[in-house]
Symmetry: C2
Subunit: 358 residues, 2 copies
């Protein structure tokens, strides 16, 4: 409870913890969940009192609208533990604001910010032991809302379920990542839902990504759907290009997610006098820079991976490899971000948020 | 069972029917479901034996991929009862083929066609009493697949649930329908999933449709996302324009659903020597035709509504009303289609499919 507002959260503790059954050294991303979850239903035109209870299955009518019309949005956040056992969130209000922006676009009622944070903090306090110390360890937090009204008429649901589930995460290492620039498929339309974390945006990428994998790429960098001439984002990450010593990234739009890690990288670049241009980036200039040896790095920025260096890319059947960088921007930003996230450096931007022990 | 292949459908009959509690004269579309449903799980790389059992809730992990990544597709079909109590489907194989096309695009394993039809027929035979005689009465059939694998990594699910649920429907009457031509929002991108019945395509339309409703329109006719100059489809219906005595409709593409009712209308137009052009239709030509009094009708074509006449449209703040037509194409096609669906006319195209009593 902050600001004196209490939301009467109903807490039901798990009778026993399953934490001892978890192998924290060999976590697979997003596969294991903590002992508790937060749940809050929207009925009769308002969000009811939230409940925190043992993690477990939910029951829905087969006609629930989420199954038929994809009326669902989510967020990705992380909690970190410092060497003094303090638990920190990273820019949580940015995630909550975006959560509600996504909700508006999907015709889902916004969730009260205070109730979100208060519930999340209560949940994190209950599951504190699941957050492990040490650089790279974190708790991945997944808030989401689904449309629960039974009935198959194609109209907004009258009832919803808000949930937060949490999954312990290790240092994210996905092996060497190579990407292909999209030439045929696309992720988002002008005037569409690309800027929202709408569930449907992700399922739609699986098939083209499978095709890319068959050609040896792990991910796709999406281009604009009209011309495929502009590089936009990678679906689960925003994307940065280093040409010479200059950093380039696409501006946000109604097709591109306003990534929290993305805007943190931009702020850190400015603070550290790294030249950065936020503007439309053409496929042509990146391919030409690669050919001339001026393309030094590509990296993705997102909550799950923090900063994900990219080893090479493909375009029009050609494969391009990026050189190893001694002075890598990707490493620099990753280390800067983690120092702030793990309370190892000054927090000039006021990004850290302490989860007070209760 | 047809073609000698039996899929060992496990049938569990409902202990009692709830049919007597249903007011068939006052059905709201898609709100009441029959006594039984079909369910089939995909695990270990294959579809298991299907079950037909009492309609009821399903249980899923909160991390099930359908909730987070919208990996879900569906179909809409109808069953009709003729005056001799025979039950008919309308072009079911077209729906099953499209169901599997949608699945492929969403990286969902295709469902065996034989098993789909055999299960559906068994289900319809069990719930035969729910299909009422009389023009306009039908059983709306909703097959769908959802991704059920627990885990929040953004990758295709390894397990799925296929279901068919059924809802008795009355003559679809939605009041007078006026539409607005999309000027800012859009439904689908080139290279996207617009041609699939992907769950996410529908939730994404709710917010713009709410805005349209505030301006007095019930639906949106989506235009191409790049220029908003071409009229595409209405989200739950394909769309036809009658200019003079000529019928116009957009060609299917990766943004436009290959509607079964749409292609039936095209075939009926050709059979009945109604001039029809399947080509890109510009906003400009329709607005000009409306101004000159040459735009005689607009109507939607879809399974739920069959043919849905449109009374007027809005564009750039202007409202246009369509004149009442004595010789309406919409009425002509609706009556032609229903005569075939209810076994009142010869079935030249072999569209009817008899659900044999078992």
């Amino acid at each position: 409870m902050r600001n004196g507002i209490s939301h009467a959260i109903d807490v039901v503790e798990a009778p026993a913890s399953k934490i001892d059954s978890v192998d924290f050294d060999n976590l697979v991303f997003g596969n294991v969940f903590t002992d508790h979850m937060m749940e809050c239903d929207y009925v009769d035109g308002q969000w009811q009192n939230p409940t925190i209870k043992p993690y477990g299955p939910i029951q829905l009518e087969p006609s629930a609208k989420v199954f038929h019309y994809g009326q669902a949005i989510f967020e990705g956040m992380k909690a970190f533990k410092d060497d003094e056992d303090q638990v920190w969130l990273f820019r949580p209000e940015a995630n909550i604001d975006r959560f509600n922006k996504s909700s508006v676009r999907l015709a889902i009622p916004e969730f009260p910010k205070e109730m979100f944070l208060e519930g999340l903090e209560t949940l994190l306090n209950l599951d504190r032991d699941w957050i492990k110390k040490g650089l790279g360890n974190s708790l991945y937090i997944r808030p989401f809302v689904i449309a629960t009204e039974p009935g198959v008429s194609a109209s907004p649901s009258k009832s919803y379920k808000f949930m937060i589930i949490c999954s312990p995460a290790k240092a994210y290492y996905s092996g060497e990542v190579r990407v292909v620039f999209a030439e045929k498929f696309s992720r988002a339309a002008n005037g569409g839902v690309g800027y929202a974390k709408a569930a449907g945006n992700y399922g739609a990428q699986f098939y083209p990504t499978n095709l890319a994998k068959e050609e040896g790429y792990q991910q796709i960098i999406w281009t604009d759907a009209n011309t495929h001439e502009y590089l936009e984002e990678a679906g689960t990450m925003n994307i940065f290009f280093r040409v010479g010593d200059k950093l380039l990234t696409a501006p946000i739009s109604d097709r591109i997610l306003d990534g929290v890690t993305r805007k943190s990288v931009i702020a850190l670049a400015e603070e550290n006098n790294i030249p950065i241009e936020v503007r439309r980036v053409t496929v042509k200039e990146i391919v030409e820079a690669a050919k001339k040896g001026e393309l030094k790095e590509i990296f993705g920025a997102g909550t799950a991976a923090t900063i994900n260096p990219i080893k090479g890319f493909g375009h029009m059947g050609e494969k391009y490899e990026l050189p190893e960088q001694a002075e890598s921007y990707a490493k620099f930003f990753k280390s800067k971000l983690m120092d702030i996230q793990y309370n190892r450096a000054e927090d000039k931007f006021d990004w850290r948020y302490l989860v007070e022990k209760k």
